[in-house]
């Protein structure tokens, strides 16, 4: 029996061509799958939110396994910095919509399946419409607001949410299914303070890591469909690539959960940017004074950097080795609190990092310490490379 009631009703009518029988032969000869399991896979409807590091192996394996209907959601285009881990996208597709790029590869792998693309962000105003016709939702998103949104939408429509997330060398995976076990809010009721948990773009990630976690998600989706084994419901799998260890933690349903507990207070989708404190209005609360990279170029040309203005690179030393803006001085964010006393608050100080996020934090640290002649370089060295000096390597 599939874990999905709809699939149990429709799968007996599913037929295969002789080519399909040969394609899925290694599935068909296992007693846990057989022709019936393959019929369930072909009958299944799975939607994958995000075609990034996690989405890439998920989509490739679901297509290969013969999942009959796959929805692909992404608003973004392929960037060259995606390619070290998002293996469904090829170099030639840089600049193209990720949905289109992913479908090209999936069709190459398996032309017999049906794929629908949704070239849009996943938002509160389209979430129900996007997932309502699918049996399983797979979360391959990359930010907290969307993760809470996927969770809430799945719980409210009673869909299983096959969850995975990654950080540098570590990953987490589980299946949230509110009618059968805990949801994401039972595990993390409070979102982190904005800016305290870096994204892959900010913190980095081992390229192969999402491959491990994404294939675990794909495995769980296939198990739910064919109805075999023990799904990861109520268990969080933690993967540590450096120690090469898996750890499993039992999750409990929180009776006080506002979404799936005994006294539900969340009965519809909310504003998730606001919930996570990242809406534009909330971010404006702390106003960081900025300069553009054009201002940095002008100040360098006029010699104001370094004569009047200290240009401070707050990235890590290994990043500075890749590329630096001329005449900058390196104090990494990690050392910032310790070395702040080396700075002269009477002088003007401009701060930069890779994209302006970490230097914004350093700006706040200096502001809290009483520095007032400080400015953050908007867009960081990425913007410098894009707008001023294309010879500066991007990473």
């Amino acid at each position: 029996m599939s874990f999905i009631p709809r699939i149990n009703k429709v799968y007996p009518d599913i037929a295969f061509t002789n080519d399909e029988i040969r394609r899925y032969g290694r599935h068909l000869i296992m007693p846990e799958v057989t022709l019936e399991g393959q019929q369930k896979l072909k009958a299944a409807r799975v939607i994958v939110i995000g075609t990034g590091g996690l989405g890439a192996p998920i989509l490739a394996y679901l297509a290969a396994a013969g999942v009959g209907h796959i929805g692909v959601v992404d608003f973004d285009t392929v960037d060259i910095s995606n390619l070290h881990r998002q293996i469904i996208h090829k170099t030639g597709n840089v600049g193209k919509p990720k949905t289109q790029s992913a479908v090209e590869m999936m069709k190459d792998i398996n032309p017999t399946i049906e794929i629908k693309t949704y070239d849009t962000s996943f938002r509160s105003d389209n979430a129900f419409e996007l997932i309502k016709d699918y049996d399983i939702v797979i979360d391959g998103t990359d930010n907290f607001p969307t993760r809470y949104l996927v969770n809430d939408a799945c719980a409210l429509l009673d869909k299983p949410n096959v969850y995975g997330s990654i950080f540098r060398f570590e990953g987490q995976a589980t299946v949230f299914w509110a009618s059968r076990g805990p949801c994401y809010r039972c595990l993390y009721p409070e979102p982190p303070e904005p800016g305290t948990v870096p994204s892959c773009a900010e913190g980095g990630v081992l390229g192969v890591l999402p491959g491990v976690v994404g294939t675990i998600q794909a495995t769980e989706a296939v198990k739910l469909i064919i109805g075999q084994g023990d799904p990861l419901i109520g268990r969080l799998l933690l993967f540590d690539a450096l120690k090469m260890k898996f750890k499993e933690l039992k999750l409990r349903k929180d009776p006080k959960c506002p979404l799936c507990g005994t006294n539900k207070t969340i009965t519809e989708l909310i504003d998730y940017d606001q919930f996570c404190g990242v809406s534009p209005a909330q971010q404006k609360a702390v106003f960081i004074e900025e300069v553009e990279v054009e201002d940095v170029e002008a100040a360098l040309d006029a010699g104001r950097i370094p004569s009047e203005i200290d240009l401070l690179d707050i990235r890590e030393p290994f990043e500075a080795k890749i590329a630096q803006i001329p005449n900058s001085r390196l104090i990494s964010l990690a050392e910032f609190s310790k070395r702040m006393h080396e700075l002269d608050s009477a002088r003007e100080i401009w701060l930069y990092c890779k994209d302006g996020a970490r230097s914004g934090k350093a700006w706040k640290l200096l502001h809290d310490a009483g520095f007032r002649k400080i400015k953050n370089v908007a867009g960081g060295i990425d913007a410098w490379s894009e707008e001023i000096d294309p010879n500066t390597p991007r990473y």
């Binding site: 993760r147 997330s165 990654i166 595990l187 993390y188 305290t196 948990v197 933690l249 039992k250």
Partner: protein
Amino acid sequence: MKVVFFAQSRQLAGCAEFDLPTDRDLTGPDFWARLIEIFPGLAPLQKTARLARHETYLDADETIHPHDEVAIIPPVSGG
């Protein structure tokens, strides 16, 4: 008390494991206070990271014993 750091807590603490000296039971808030004294960088994680003892998550009102192994598991969002 053995403390095991995961994800960002490992980065902020600068180590994967730490032996927190204590000879008495600690409540969740006591545990965090002791830990943040030693690793001030962990303070932003207190609100959101979960504690797990052995193989199970701890509820906020559970006490931690001196010989427990406690894991700090912050949420991660990368994809």
